[in-house]
Symmetry: C2
Subunit: 500 residues, 2 copies
Amino acid sequence: MQITSTKINFEKLFHPDSLAFIGASPVPGKWGFIIFANILRGGFQGKIYPVNPGYANLFGMPCYPSISAVREKVELAVITVPAKNVPPVIDECIAKGVINAIIITSDFSETGSEGALLEQKIVEKSLSAGMTIVGPNTMGVFNAYGKLNILMPPIKTESGYVSIVSQSGNVGTQIMSECLKHGIGISKLISSGNEAMIKCEDYISYLIKDKTTRIIVMYIESLKAGRRFIEICRDLKAAKPIIIYKSGKTEGGKSAAASHTGAMAGSTEIYKSVFKQYGIIEAESTEEIIDLIGGFMSFPIPRGNRVGIITIGGGWGVITADECENHDLKLPDLSVDVYNKLDKLLPRYWSKRNPVDMVAVLSMEIYPKIIEAVVSWDGVDSVISLGGPSPAGFFQYDDMADKSGIKKEQVALISEKIHEQINERKKIVSEFMKKYDKPILHVEMSTAEDIRQNMKKYNYTTFMSPERAVRVLKKMVDFSKARDRMNKSNYSECVSKPRF
Amino acid sequence: MQITSTKINFEKLFHPDSLAFIGASPVPGKWGFIIFANILRGGFQGKIYPVNPGYANLFGMPCYPSISAVREKVELAVITVPAKNVPPVIDECIAKGVINAIIITSDFSETGSEGALLEQKIVEKSLSAGMTIVGPNTMGVFNAYGKLNILMPPIKTESGYVSIVSQSGNVGTQIMSECLKHGIGISKLISSGNEAMIKCEDYISYLIKDKTTRIIVMYIESLKAGRRFIEICRDLKAAKPIIIYKSGKTEGGKSAAASHTGAMAGSTEIYKSVFKQYGIIEAESTEEIIDLIGGFMSFPIPRGNRVGIITIGGGWGVITADECENHDLKLPDLSVDVYNKLDKLLPRYWSKRNPVDMVAVLSMEIYPKIIEAVVSWDGVDSVISLGGPSPAGFFQYDDMADKSGIKKEQVALISEKIHEQINERKKIVSEFMKKYDKPILHVEMSTAEDIRQNMKKYNYTTFMSPERAVRVLKKMVDFSKARDRMNKSNYSECVSKPRF
């Protein structure tokens, strides 16, 4: 019951001209309502045929008693009817000449042998008829470039270059939401469900060639075609970053996975060694997934593991130095030249070493000079910058205007000027990255909205803690090494590039 | 050059009747402006005397050429003049009978032998005169219950029960900000600076007796009076949670710490074993600090390590099961009774095991019953709940009103009803914690504002990832064990209690 990736018509999955929704419903709270509403909201441009024998009209359009009743061609079917009703629906889809069918419905192989039999039956029928099945037990499919939003959660999407393949719809859509929260757009999302026919590996082989995908993100519990995955990664030679969160690492996790997607989770050690060998980036926590996406979308790939740290206060410098050492990132001693440059710029009680402690200097004039002194230094491959002068905060309360004896209008003027300077600072950091082709990972006590704005305006992400920045940097360094090792000759057009 | 904690007049440090600010300035951007402004903004009720020979008036009040020129008594002095000018200022403070002096100024022992000599001179003088020094090189002191805000950053504070002692002003004020972002109020903050005279250990011995402090949080690079710290913890018997982030763990971090506060960071192993022995809670990342504060402020202390997991989707269940196993938290098999209860509530394709996968059930009727079935079960000591029905999102876009054929007013009504139900769900979780005296750690894709609202309204914190919840639970279990071991007889009035 295998299907080869080349036989799957992914173009018609992601860009169908028409779709039928079997199980469409006017009842809020039902998946046939929620997902159908999301398709409409997503602005799909092709033809839409709601199917439900109970209604003549739905959402202001004609509703069909069955897909057979639709006179026009139907390329994609979306199915939400209960499991026991799926086989006859599949028969009708095949008869109708449907190319791909997305089965949202649960209660198949993930619940036991009865469901597994049902699933097998559907797959056999579809395979012999040449119809492809996504799922079952999937949360759906999304493609920004086809205005196709067949998803459960009502996420307001933005188009971009990150594609997600997830063996958990829940985790997949949450990664998507996090990306959007951070100002990072999405190309495609596939919740692969039980993978009765199309597997993670199939989606990956499509996405590595997809021009609108720069970064591939995967949540996996187990790979059913592990050997094929290895071949794909070997051939890719790290030309496009693949970020993976692998769960089911412990016995408890494996048992949970078994009842989730019916998967056997396999040996953690094997996965880890494959990831390492082929430059696959492993996210070690759910939050690290978004951090890594931000990093690979934002920064030039570092050429080595030497780091310069610049900090507004000493404590963060100490924390970051600890983390760097724990992650095999080196903090070289300042060269005489860099030392002298900094010594001229900073108060006499500065740290005089790497980490460079700016000892709470608030001057916007000096800040860019300090950053440039460090990033331009050929002794480092990257910079971590912790906080920075942001005196805007000192003027945020109008009440201070009178108390300080400064007039309100003056406070407003100062505030405006400082905001301009902060914007200027961000622009300068972005320009330094371009100029010196090195990442500058900036850490700041930010809100998600700040991070989003920064990404959208200056094209680089901000980190909420020093530890999170260090872990991303470490993994970018590892990726760089693996890519070098695997030879750059195959570096194709569709690779991830710094976005500057 | 030691001072015993009992000789320090902490009452007059945190509740002075009068303060002089030596170095007050009308120039925005100067610390003499910023900190002075924060004191005014903080609403300090005692007498304030700005001191600066250059001005006759400052911030609308008389300004004095020197502290000697103030006729009234001065209990607290705040000093921001350059290091070389500090010794004569100290002489004047002593002559004036000042009780405590906070030296904000840097460039003392942290910058080398010259600064160290200067620092020594100041301390010797003050000691022999009986005046106490906070700092130097401190970011200041805050006490919500004295309306005393002598801090660099312009944080809008709220009073509460968390007190922070930090060897980095920067890290300390950031912990404070994070608390406030999460809806957790502050009692006191002390940036201990170079600790020339008063040390971390002194502040701690005050705070463990302080009735408005339920949780003590420390950022340390090294403890100068380590033995005393051990004695304090031994006597405390974990009656009040002490959460510590210890930096300077690696050689790189130790060197950075040396140039930050002039401290020798000491052996990590010794610290770790002391923490473990005395039930001190070690935060292993900066973000874990706030997670642990939230946990200890929110939840009943778990009695053991058995966890029930309830999840809206399978993937998160797998991730959380992995994390629990990695942290020695046990997931017991469901009892027949609990199994039967759940089987009646959930669709037939539910996970039928712990983690309990609610398979995306959106019903608000069923949700509380599921939670209660698990939390009431005597086979678990705590519950981790991942996501939950939140169909509010399905109605957040007005545009759907027309597209779905449902009228706008109806959408508004449904939306309102669902929000009510979500509030009800949170209230119920809070009540279950009280009723069953077990923690329910809830994980949700939240914004900081959601978390803040939840804490303020329902008195429990929410976690942004399953991993973060698991780590907090693990450390609460460890604390519980250590406390039991150390005997509960000394459990005093001022201990941390569940807030329900």
